[in-house]
Symmetry: C2
Amino acid sequence: MNLSGLKYLVVGSGLWGAAIAERIASVVKERVLVVEKRRRVGGMCQSFVHKETGIECHADGTHIFHTRFPEVWDYVRRFSDFIPYRHKVLTTCKGRVYNMPIGLATINAWYGLALKPHEALAFIEEEARRSDLTGEPRNLEEKAVSLIGRPLYEAFIKGYTQKQWNADPKSLPASIITRLPIRMNYNFDYFSDPWDMQGLPAKGYSTLIENMLARPNISLALETNFFDIRALVPPSCVVFYSGPVDRLFDNRFGTLEWRGLRFEWRVEDRDDWQGTSVMNYADVEVPYTRIHEYKHLRPEQPCTAGKTVLCVEYPEAGGEPYYPVNVERNDKIYALYREESEKIDNLHIGGRLGSYRYYDMDKTIHEALTLFDQVFRESSV
Amino acid sequence: MNLSGLKYLVVGSGLWGAAIAERIASVVKERVLVVEKRRRVGGMCQSFVHKETGIECHADGTHIFHTRFPEVWDYVRRFSDFIPYRHKVLTTCKGRVYNMPIGLATINAWYGLALKPHEALAFIEEEARRSDLTGEPRNLEEKAVSLIGRPLYEAFIKGYTQKQWNADPKSLPASIITRLPIRMNYNFDYFSDPWDMQGLPAKGYSTLIENMLARPNISLALETNFFDIRALVPPSCVVFYSGPVDRLFDNRFGTLEWRGLRFEWRVEDRDDWQGTSVMNYADVEVPYTRIHEYKHLRPEQPCTAGKTVLCVEYPEAGGEPYYPVNVERNDKIYALYREESEKIDNLHIGGRLGSYRYYDMDKTIHEALTLFDQVFRESSV
């Protein structure tokens, strides 16, 4: 690979890398190379049509696009139409089904009551008081109990958190949950963004990202590991890096921890297996955290009758890095890498991996667009 | 009022009358007079801004526009922008809150189970079998029990129906419910129409209808009773009548029965009183059937902080005609009136009153547009 004269390199073709590359190609009108170690673009944001059933699936768990940033909404819609979709999530807990996140319906169903919003607020405050926790919460459990009381915590948070992080919530920092948004109403929408800024790309996420990258100025090198070509990159080349930041610096400050996921796919001979797109499983005895049934995302799309695809989500150690483990140790290590990266003028890190943050898709794009503006406002371009 | 030379008269300014008048004015380009006995246009489809709170309310119960007819959706959007809104309805029953219409969530919540769609289907079929009803259902109760089993019927249908019609469901004809659509999934949307064909007119229903009627060719006579001016209408005038059809023929075949509603309005000093727009009350001991809290329809609209308007709905005999009582006696009488009206060449009856049918808004408009096409395709215009 001849990289001599290369001015702009983007490492990783997830939403962050694709947005950076697209902006450079379209606005700066310079050539840019995108290297992607996988066989397809999109990072963790990949869709595909399931062969046996014709159902559009997401490779790495259900992705719903939702945003509060009008500029991000305008941006993505340049590359794809969006189908309106409003997400909801249910959870199965001790043999019953409840609405998530915890709201008035969940509270009333759990306690067998019909409280009005103001009554439920007082009720939950009393439940939280009853927990007899005083002072600053010392861990996730205390934090959650202080917010919603012990019964709801034990039903809906404890087991799920245990499974998600493979750790007793008592051993997890309180900071993992900054808030537990309890909606004291019957709003079942999972996301609170404006109604008309939520949806699904009409032809899937992979097509959206392919469309972002389909510019004459963008060269795409799939199945190409940045570290294999790193030595060839000219020193003057501006690098936008969305890979693991510890790897970039040879793990010199230590390895950042990630929580992985394992997905088990199976086809069921039912038109509708679980009645909804995402069912959480709150009980610690159930080894998985969620089941995705993708056909519910796109009810208007034709697919094979009498068939449905399920994707069962198991948190696991190792594997692909899905969730940053933002505990003190890791955040401190990340800060060192960040500092190091900032010493290098023509290096910019971002995206979920590069930022070591669990970003929603819109935040990832917003971060990319903001960075682009900073870099190219400051530079002489 | 000088009506000499009048070629087209529309009686009633609800959606049906407004659509007929608009079409004549815009397409036939003829003058048309609309007479409306009330002080405002819109019939039962009126919105207003509540003075004390600034909340947009509907005068006669919650109206959500939803349709499957693309031509109706295109038509109404000529006169108003529509805000996307998807309606849901909850019901309070024996001290708990459930989703309506009866679906997988309702069944699982009622029975304390977590059945999958196919399990719930088998379960409900078994519940229906267990009721030991054989042969054709002889009344509403038998019909409902044969469809959903006795426990769900008694919880969700019996008391509500009793209140709605002030009659024991055993005394009501089975034909009142042709089906009880049980959704064997967690779809909480009240209406099954396409997602992008549901909404609320951006400036309210009254403005929508005012906009329909705001044509130079349309003259509007408010506070004008058709029967007071009937004698002045030229014999050649084509009359589109959406008033009570029995009244039109001096009740000669008998009076058609209607079920009325009484609304009690009150302001509560809460930001959110019930957490949702419409809460049904299924128990027969509760004298009202529904409480409407209108601010939930338009969460984006500013209104007075700490205040909400409630509208409590009581079915009652007499008063304004809301629901046609489509039992055999009435349907037979209506057929006689219909036949009579069809003998008169230049008379067309329609709308909820004129058709003696409980029409959704979109059906009313669809009926009007269809009639318009028939009349003006057939005529020499």
